[in-house]
């Protein structure tokens, strides 16, 4: 039977709210088209500028759309815009901009083609924004696939490096398992609740669906596992170190901050709003996962010799901390989660920027020894790295401290005091590997004896000649990213008020949460 078109009610579309997404998609197409033009200027300058422009425009539009306390659908029952979506979009845009800058001299650009590289990056950002604004299970899954598939390709974009290809393939296979698990879970949840919209599920759970319904609980379990994979929560974290190390480092940086923020956006949307009524069912499981993640991540990071692997394991541990904010299911937990994601962006990008700067010039690649004596040779890189490490460890006067404090406060406030203790214990262990990086940079030549993985020192193509002075200024855009992110980390550590105001706005965006 063919439905008369007129009978299908057109969804109400709020074009103003949709404008950031429109800008992103438009920019993606534009970059792809422009990439057809050959020529050094286009490939080296125009494409990155166009990408930056797209991201900047989308960011500007997001801020323009933003009105405090606002909560409205932009595409009826599919997308809605609120402070949570907008603040996480900021994370995606900033991460995207940083990645464009960091990738400017990456070998991946010439290997894979600049146009393809930037297009994939923009599509991935689009997927993230889409899922942050998702209002039902379908959009959520579309968003997740839109963000994942370009990332599989980006991981493999350094086609002449075997490790990059391996990382891409590995990510693709495991990622598909994760996506499939998630999709299965979403399907079962739909089956139990009879609706795909988050608001509808929330209503159904309190009303028609029993909370001990096996269908629903199996769905939650599968969705939980799928998301845990995306957020690299143990025991679904295994791909993280391999993929982080194998992928081109700018892509790793992007994955570390943006993908993580996106995964937690779904966690928040799904668990803290749609499935909040079933909190007693899922919260203990998530708390257990958080604990395992914190322990596994921190222990795993200790023995790493590769900085990228170390940051990967540290990212696993940090995911455990952030999960604590989701577990408690309170407004404060939501605020703490978003706060931590914001500062996590700053400190992690700063760290990765320094790794990128070093791996391009040092014969040790991304090994710990690449940082040796950096304090003397290039203080402009050593300081951001120091600040990033201290912030990740949660030192006072950095934003990381306030973020961690916020999370612990939320955990204690939400009757998960023991989880707060786990976070503190995890932070204590983490000092071992964070401070070692600081020591290697500042304390002069020292033997870093580690149970390292077999491998020879890599020979990298020097960017600015082998002299430290030339190296330090050979990649000004990388140094800029490192310094800017580290400065912001310090700034928000001393004056956190702007972020407090922002997350206070976010705190009200999920209506179902109690204050």
């Amino acid at each position: 039977m063919i439905l008369p078109l007129a009978d299908v009610p057109a969804p109400h579309i709020d074009y103003k709210g949709l404008s950031p997404l429109i800008a992103l998609v438009g920019g993606t197409v534009l970059v792809l088209m422009a990439a057809l033009l050959r020529g050094r200027f286009v490939q080296r300058s125009l494409l990155p500028l166009l990408t930056l422009g797209t991201l900047g425009a989308a960011m500007g539009l997001s801020i323009w759309v933003w009105s405090p306390g606002d909560h409205r659908p932009i595409v009826e029952s599919a997308l809605e815009v609120d402070a949570l979506a907008l603040s996480l979009s900021l994370v995606f845009y900033v991460a995207g901009i940083a990645t464009v800058l960091l990738a400017h001299r990456s070998a991946a650009l010439s290997d894979a083609g600049a146009g393809e590289y930037y297009t994939l990056l923009l599509s991935s950002v689009t997927g993230m924004v889409l899922l942050a604004e998702a209002a039902n299970l379908i959009t959520l899954f579309v968003g997740i696939e839109l963000l994942s598939i370009p990332l599989y390709v980006l991981c493999a974009s350094q086609v002449r490096r075997r490790a990059s290809l391996e990382a891409g393939l590995k990510y693709l296979v495991i990622g598909s398992v994760g996506s499939a698990t998630l999709l299965y879970g979403l399907a079962l949840i739909y089956g139990a609740a009879g609706t795909t919209s988050f608001a509808g599920i929330d209503r159904a759970l309190g009303d028609t669906v029993s909370l001990s319904d096996p269908l629903l609980l199996t769905g939650i379990a599968l969705a939980c596992a799928g998301l845990a994979f995306k957020a690299s929560v143990a025991p679904f974290h295994q791909w993280t170190p391999d993929v982080y190390q194998g992928a081109p480092t700018p892509v790793t940086a992007f994955m570390a901050v943006a993908t993580k923020a996106a995964a937690f956006a779904i966690f928040l949307r799904l668990f803290d709003s749609a499935l909040l009524s079933a909190q007693f069912q899922w919260a203990p499981a998530l708390a257990a996962l958080a604990t395992i993640t914190i322990v596994v991540g921190n222990v795993g990071a200790i023995a790493q010799d590769s900085l990228k692997r170390m940051l990967a394991w540290s990212g696993v541990a940090q995911a455990g901390y952030i999960l604590a904010g989701v577990v408690v299911g309170t407004q404060k937990g939501l605020e703490a989660t978003v706060f931590y994601l914001l500062v996590y962006l700053l400190m992690n990008v700063a760290a990765f920027a320094v790794v990128i700067a070093r791996e391009r010039v040092s014969e040790w690649g991304d090994g710990m020894r690449a940082l040796e004596g950096l304090g003397r040779a290039a203080p402009w890189l050593a300081w951001p790295m120091t600040i990033a490490m201290l912030a990740l460890a949660g030192f006072p006067a950095t934003a990381g401290f306030i973020g961690k404090f916020y999370l612990i406060d939320a955990a204690v406030d939400g009757d998960y005091a023991w989880l707060g203790v786990v976070i503190v214990a995890g932070s204590m262990i983490s000092l071992v590997y964070y401070l070692r990086v600081v020591a290697v940079m500042w304390m002069g030549p020292m033997e870093v004896r580690l149970p390292s993985l077999p491998g020879r020192p890599r020979t990298a193509k020097p960017v600015g000649g082998w002299s430290p002075e030339a190296d330090a200024w050979a990649q000004p855009e990388v140094t800029l990213v490192a310094v800017a992110c580290a400065a912001a980390t310090m700034f928000f550590g001393i004056w956190p008020n702007p972020l407090f105001d922002l997350v206070a706005d976010v705190g009200t965006s999920l209506a179902s949460l109690v204050g």
């Binding site: 001990s212 379990a221 599968l222």
Partner: protein, 668 residues
Amino acid sequence: MTSTWGWLILLFPLVGTVVISLGYKVLPGRLAGWLGSAAILGAFVCAIGALLSIQDRTPEDRQVVSTLWTYASTAKVDVGMTILVDPLSVLMALVVSGVSFLIHVYSVSYMGGDRGYARYFAYLNFFVFSMLLLVMGGNLVLLIVGWAFVGAASYLLISFWYRRGTATYAGLKAFVINVVGDIGLVVAAFLLWSKTGALDWTGVFRGSHEAFHTNDGVIVAACLLLTVGAFAKSAQVPLHTWLPDAMEGPTPVSALIHAATMVTAGVYLIARTHPLYELAPTAADITAVLATFTFVYAATCAMAITDLKRIIAYSTISQIGYMVVGVALFGYANGLFHLMTHAFFKALLFMGAGSIIAAMAGEQNIDRMGGLRRAMPFTYVTFMVGSLALAGFPPFSGWLSKDSIVAFAFDRGGWYVAIGVAGYVAALLTAFYTFRVVFRVFSGEPVEEARLLERGELAHAAHRNPLTGEEEDTDVGFPGPEHHIAERELPMKFAMSLLAVLAFAGGTIGIPDVSDVLERFLEPTFADSAFQGVAPSDTAEWIGLAVGAATAAAGIGAAWLVYLRRPGLSLELARRFPRTHRFLERRWYFDELYDLTVVRPLQALAAFSRRAIERGIVQGLLVGGAGGLVRGGMTIARTIQNGYLRAYALLLLTGLAGLGLYFLLQSS
């Protein structure tokens, strides 16, 4: 406007710190020093601005609280970046920034040859910023932050010559003892917060009046803990042993941090928290008694030791004892008056000592000095001014300020009279030991260095550690190759002459019956005190001053008798009473006592834990154990983390099965 001045006071030294520490490579010559001095001058000018603007207000309106931003407002903790501008903090800011400026100027020359020149000024600016933060902070948290910062600055500057073993050890010692005080302060803050629910000064004071009755157990405990903090920072018995060792730092640092400003933070703390102490008179009395013991004790030590800087250090401990007694007896204006004049004359004495040590090519033992008067006329005159002020000789500033404290003790009556008597006894000793130094350094037969200097040559000797005699080079981490004396350096002369004028005339703002400027100025801060307006009668004060003058004259006369009239008498005395002499020279064996009761047992404990716990339990069980565990864990981890996808998928499925099982159990 008042609060703007207040913020500017903090801003200048902070900017100075940042600029100097970032630009240490590019700042040529002595520019770092001048930049640092200019920053502190800026702070001083702003302090004057704050003074003028606060005087424009009505007396009730002279406590200005200004919050720049709220740092945390969660879980019942409300902490902001808040300053309190009131007469007390303005007075402290004036003294700190004013004296600091002069010492900066002095250092521009004095540290001229040092290889760590810019680092020195970065530290020094950081210290001034921290100290100003401490005195301006509007809540307990900022006080603690400033407290810890000045401790850190003090540590950095004591161990400024970081290749000198004795200096780094002294820095460590100072830091450890100060941390004891920090703990006291933090616990006190917690007690106050838990009972009053506030951390800002006004809230704490208001809340404590509601929460506590007089001599309530908690408030006494809190005040005693505050006293622990104050005593550690102000080097009062029993937490005093770090200050003499702190003299390992450069001499201007001793003048600034370990005489004029930081060590008086304890006095400031007690004055600032006076509403609490007035609620806990017992704690105030204990504080006063300990401080009384301190000023007598330190004065006796200063009579026997021979290291020039350490003598002045003990004199500092003694004089701070007077100030603490002043504020602990609730005569706040008296204590702060002495704090101010002491800052002038003690900084001056240290500057003079620096000049003398430079002329002696690094020698610090007064036994090796003599007859420097003709060679160093300027240093002699200024040192003499400082000594007369310290001895309390009329009409110098120390005479008026010290005796105001003693007179107040007599006026309190009862057993406080004993404190007053002790005050005179210690004053006698003070006059004696002060002029012991003056006579032995400047009079008598000129030593070789003095003769050289009279011929216009500055003595040079191999660079040695003055304590151990080890040879040193002059590279960074050790003192620089050049010495600078006041006679030849204009900036040093400038700083010293200005301080000499202040040490002479600084007392004029507190002449009984004539001018009570300071007391009236501080009135708004202490308006809530029960002792506001309580003061000895003018007659009593003048009698006290007369007795004080006589005491000082007697002490100076005794020193003249022993060291000039009958040289050799002192040696004879030391021979006749060897035990007393040794007892004083070893400073009552305090260091040995601590070594025996604290350091050794802790070392033994550490050695034991290393043997038993570290080797046995940790390495054996946990590491061998844990070594095995970690190794085993890593083997497992490496087996799992083998890079094969199928292994990952297996674990993924295992995790998934676990999760699924958990959720399905929920459904039954």
